[in-house]
């Protein structure tokens, strides 16, 4: 460091001991703090709930207990299979509606974010539809599509569509003008701009849109089945409620929550893949 004979304020032997850089080590707990604390708190709540249930302090007409819910869930999925049947129907409704929503809303959102005139033309309709609770369309959708699969898938589509669309639009519109200018200065074509700047900077917005769309879509599938038809988790929830089968009701809640958490986790992995360039922080 002082090859040119400059005086250094660091003592000459400072490098002798302990100067090798050492990557800071993290304990197992530090690496998994979120998961550990989260699991413990869930276990804690479940334990108290189960204790109250076992002690007979909970009226099964109004509430249920973890063991009863789990038993009902197990039987419904792997025993008698009565829940599984409805779950398969709902999953099909959801997967169809959500996939079509994503396939249409992502490209459309990108186009509307990028091109002004189509955006101005469609804006009033998008805002109007987005601000209206989708439930009011359920009767109409039933008239159009009947009581079966098609109407449920369409409700999911309608629910998931707007969050995905609006986020994709916002993503494109917030693309950094300075980056676009830099690209243009090197003679980027429209396609270059889209491919190298707009799309990568829009991906995080699209993921957020998909997550919101997922939440709205799950509401859509449950609500749609609840109001019309004779099949699906939403229908099962309605039946369970009417007959005071709280264990079945909670089993359905666990399924819907599990689906939400599961798909959300997958999306998070996808997001992580696209965001690997971001400096890591906890």
């Amino acid at each position: 460091m002082n090859a040119d004979g400059q005086v250094s304020v660091i003592p000459a032997d400072a490098g002798a001991a302990g100067a090798e850089p050492v990557r800071p080590t993290e304990s197992f707990y530090q690496r998994n703090e979120g998961a550990i604390v989260g699991s413990l708190s869930v276990v804690f709540v479940l334990a108290i709930w189960q204790a109250a249930w076992s002690a007979g302090r909970i009226d099964p007409l109004f509430f249920s207990g973890p063991s009863a819910i789990f038993a009902r869930l197990w039987d419904g999925l792997f025993g008698s299979g009565d829940i599984l049947e409805h779950l398969a129907f709902s999953a099909q409704n959801f997967a169809t509606g959500f996939s079509i929503a994503a396939l249409v809303a992502i490209p459309l959102g990108i186009v509307l974010g990028w091109y002004r005139l189509p955006r101005l033309i469609l804006d009033p309709f998008i805002n109007g539809l987005y601000s209206t609770p989708r439930i009011v369309f359920v009767p109409l959708i039933v008239i159009w599509f009947g009581l079966g699969f098609a109407s449920k898938a369409f409700i999911v589509f309608l629910s998931a569509f707007f969050p995905i669309l609006l986020n994709a639009m916002a993503g494109v519109r917030t693309t950094d003008d300075e980056l676009l200018g830099a690209a243009r200065s090197f003679r980027a074509t429209q396609w270059d701009l889209f491919r190298t700047v707009v799309l990568p900077s829009t991906v995080p917005f699209i993921i957020v849109g998909l997550r919101q769309g997922l939440a709205h879509g799950l509401i859509g599938v449950v609500v749609g089945e609840f109001f019309a038809g004779s099949k699906g988790i939403g229908y099962l929830v309605g039946q369970a409620g009417m007959m005071f089968k709280t264990d079945l009701l909670f089993a359905c809640v666990v399924i819907v929550a599990g689906a939400g958490i599961g798909i959300s986790a997958v999306l998070q992995r996808v997001e992580g893949y696209f965001q690997s360039w971001r400096p890591s922080s906890n």
Binding site: E178, F186, R187
Partner: protein
Amino acid sequence: MGSRPNKLVATGISKYFWMKGEPDPIPALTNVTLSIAEGEFVCIVGPSGCGKTTFLNIATGLLAPDAGRIEIAGKQIDGPGRDRATVFQQPRLLPWRTTLANVTYGMELQRKFDKSEIEDRAAHHIRLVGLAGFERHYPAELSGGMQQRVNLARALATDPEILLMDEPFAALDAQTREFMQAELLRIWSHAGKTVLFVTHQIDEAAFLSDRVIVFGTRPGRLKQEFAVPFERPRTLALKRRPDFLTLVDGIWALIEEEGTRAGLVRTAEATTGEARA
């Protein structure tokens, strides 16, 4: 210098910005005429708001002037060109691309070199700006000075005939800035490009350039030119020489006068008057 052919000729450039709710436009540039010879290093200095960036954007081809035209090698420009590369004031790197991928980016877009040439040139220019070993780093993992080197390498790697630079070192700390200035001269002496370098720092302009063009503000316009006679190669020691300081003082006097006229610099009288009020 008169013997060399002109590389860039700007004639009567004017640019106005219309603001919402304002009856009159901002005269960012009025009737600017200047020329730069082939291989010449020219600096534009002036107070902020005098239209330096606007002029550079017009020369880059990102902005159309309201009047006038710019010719490069005798041909009028009508947009960004392969003959130019711009180093922006902010690094403007793609955050999701590594150093290497950011340096190849300009070349990829200009489509001037084939794939293997792009790789070779990127590696060469990363070394040239002193970033060897950082090829796989993302911009967020680099210091401001290193990001600015990537910005410079991205432009240089496209092998431009004219390098356009907009206050590239303004955001750097004083020491890094000085090193970068010396480094830029070293690179320029090898590459022999024509350079138009915008700065608001007079000593930077005098240190780097063959000629300093002073812009004035409100309206933005060309005020005066100074020839910079110092021999090359130059080292940072030049900045302490009396004749260097004399030149800097001369340019500074002009800019101060300009600033006072535009109300950017307050006179002692005005300051005390305000303090009392």
